[in-house]
Chain length 548, copies 2
Amino acid sequence: MTHPNALEAARCGYIPKHPASLHENAVAVRSDPPTASSEDVRDLFPHTFDLPTIAFEASRTPMVSRVHRVGVILSGGPAPGGHNVIAGLYDGLKRIHPESTLFGFLNGPAGLLKDCGREIDGPTVDRYRNTGGFDLIGSGRTKLESEADYRTAIETARARKLTGLVVVGGDDSNTNACLLAEFARTVHSSLEVVGVPKTIDGDMKGASIETSFGFDTASKVYSELIGNINRDALSVRKYWHFIKLMGRSASHIALECALQTQPTITLISEEIAARALTLNDLVDHIAGIIALRSNANQDFGTVLIPEGLIEFIPEMRRLIAELNEVLVTGWQEFSALETLPHKREYIAGCLSPESAGLYRNLPREIANQLILDRDPHGNVQVAKIDIQRLFIELVGHRLHEMREANSYNGTFSPHDHYLGYEGRCASPSNFDADYTYTLGFTAALLLREGLTGYVATVGRLTRPAAEWLPGGIPLSRMMNLERRHGHDVPVVRKWLVDLNGPAFKRLEANRDLWAKETRFAFPGPVQYFGPSEICDRTTITLQLEAPV
Amino acid sequence: MTHPNALEAARCGYIPKHPASLHENAVAVRSDPPTASSEDVRDLFPHTFDLPTIAFEASRTPMVSRVHRVGVILSGGPAPGGHNVIAGLYDGLKRIHPESTLFGFLNGPAGLLKDCGREIDGPTVDRYRNTGGFDLIGSGRTKLESEADYRTAIETARARKLTGLVVVGGDDSNTNACLLAEFARTVHSSLEVVGVPKTIDGDMKGASIETSFGFDTASKVYSELIGNINRDALSVRKYWHFIKLMGRSASHIALECALQTQPTITLISEEIAARALTLNDLVDHIAGIIALRSNANQDFGTVLIPEGLIEFIPEMRRLIAELNEVLVTGWQEFSALETLPHKREYIAGCLSPESAGLYRNLPREIANQLILDRDPHGNVQVAKIDIQRLFIELVGHRLHEMREANSYNGTFSPHDHYLGYEGRCASPSNFDADYTYTLGFTAALLLREGLTGYVATVGRLTRPAAEWLPGGIPLSRMMNLERRHGHDVPVVRKWLVDLNGPAFKRLEANRDLWAKETRFAFPGPVQYFGPSEICDRTTITLQLEAPV
């Protein structure tokens, strides 16, 4: 009888496609960094800012290098391909010197702070090649952010005799990797720190980072499911599906899934913020399309809603900010109230008149979620809000009003979906398997060069993998100063959807057609063994955005 | 740029594997039917009960046949492979006589009653080969069940000059197909009616039907996602995922997905009914495992919950029956009440003391769902109850009590999922593509034989497709008399999970281990192009249950 893990077993034998420059002894070519964008940031990173951009090119000259001992951390939410970063890193270290070793810290940065980890040897790496998940060493959300943390980290590294540390994470984790790198130089530690850009959200990118890893696979898994739901809507012709998509702030996932599946309606948070739309506007927009389609006997459709949307609706953002304030200052009184109606009324009484009006008009379940589901800092947990159900309820009310006014005569049967945890640990697509392996290998090469405060990069990603360009840039070059808790701090910039970019423009050019006429697409499941145009295709976002 | 539908385009060229006996001019071999199980059922089907079992075998003798004109209906919820039933049927009819034609009634049985449909020609069939969904002609839940319906159907068939009708559906639709076949003979119509066993739920099976189509693909899509969620749980080690799985009554999907993914906990409705467990028992069971794992620092896991579970908990079944009664008799008074608390209190006052106690202890949202979401007949819509959220809430309370009693000291961070619409219209697996093509082709051959009241069957499904055995049995042979609305009516029996069968036994033998130690499996997405052991494997249920 076939074992359920037969596919995974077969995938373990897949050899990731990678740049020709990694086959031989890649040589680092240094080029001048671009003109500094921010003198303020430069001042904060005296040791790591004015470093060159690196590109690795194929060379026949054997490179001699010392033995490296490298630690690795997986930080934050998992993304498909994490295990291949480790595999590429391991293979790269062994290429540099056969006695190099790799040590994995367990469960994220906490493992580094507590000095909790495991040696990662060849047989272990082989078992995890091309698999999904972060379970080889686990992940975690603990942050390395205080000077005390950095001192502890450097002490652990010294005790473990580490020469380098690779931090696999998103914008926050890479920010902290850079701060750690700078701090190490400041205290004369020789520890070198390199980051790897990870996040399914797709918001860690920039001039040298064409995409973060995991975005490709996660958006394909969600697109598979949305395609199936599209087909269901088209087959039974009586349901409206409201689908919330993971992606903490940026709407890249919703945008990519829209281009892949051509749904009836797609909300893009960045556009809503830019146009300062209200919740009411959005409900009008959706109800209007539903009524229009109903007139043509199309009482069905799919609606994509990015998870972080609620914070991009200006009035909701204000409401949430006020709630966060009120729940801190009025916590004692609030907690003492016994019933939810009393709690809600108490809260409403503390808000500005506009926010109070908005809050009182929210469906009760959402009003409760806004005050009950708090994170440890007392803030609203936006990801836990059932925004897809909020829209179903509000749109249902609007359609009811329209029916009373004789402007709608259809049937509205909604279903809600949330696609998130189904995609973060999927088996990586060929693209993500190849890309992450190359990123890990490249991180090893950056360490060989004695570089620190860098992020591994791979350019020319829409070309065949053999032509990809591995390299690195100083992380501080990706930073801006942002105001946080009353201080200006350097952070790797989060890239939101560019409303002037080609991906959004393509949605904009097509969405009226997709709303009016049904033009669903059905991408199907990720394939590994078939024709290259199916198995190796990248996201549409990357195809549109990548430099030619 | 690759088109999102590139995979679908490639799949259109797939040639379904099918039995060798269909390559040539298959000849029907008739064998005596088994001894009648029910004389009462026989009496109701004088024209279609005592007919032989059919098996088609390869023959070199060319078969001469008249031109056939056949109508086809897709009935009920979609299932992967419906379009290949049509493709197989079309190819079979053309093999019988090149001038044979196929007519599709639109949107289910309603299309037959309203005479609304379309000709299905070769180019149309070619566009839909191996695709998911029922959108070629749509589906619907209208039932053909009254004598008036049967008269209308026969009149439509006569006007359309149909010689045969193929009904693709589950137990209800096949029951009605059989009643229509019998009725046609009674009124001297020559219309021949053949059924095809469809349902992702997997509950239309029996001695001659090894599995219904769609079960394979749907359970694989859900298993892909559960495997990804398993991997997420294992990677971040802090979430409990409660996953509701589609499947109206039977727990076949939950059972198959459990065997595929080896989750921490699986509830099987049939076992709960057999052991007469209470909601409290189940909450104790789940909370107990969570506490046990927490002691071993495993504050994570996955729980599979079949959609229909609530009706299999005896006390909940009684409560729902009472609610259905109360909401009919007390509708006027109930509707007049303005607030939900008043409505709930009114309802509780009308229930038996046991049911009232149970109802009052339910979380408020569930108590509301039980009285607000009614189907057109006033019955509770069980599928709409968020049973996964019910368990999260009740288990959370229980863990809170255990914490107070110092018997639990973990953190419980739950997430809820519902997997259903994501799987019904997926692109069919190779198995379902092959099986449905063979079923459709076989339906054509049954019509060629002039048989009516049959269901198409394919035997030996765990062997290579070349060795499959196409054939048919009289539908009435699958029937039992059941009491409905005060009358004994013949219905195709729904097959629930057999607690003495090998599939449940395998779960039973492993589940304690899976609960205590983490033994997650990760089946990954359905593959079409790779090694046969990955692309052509059947469900574990079928492998275990199929006759050798």
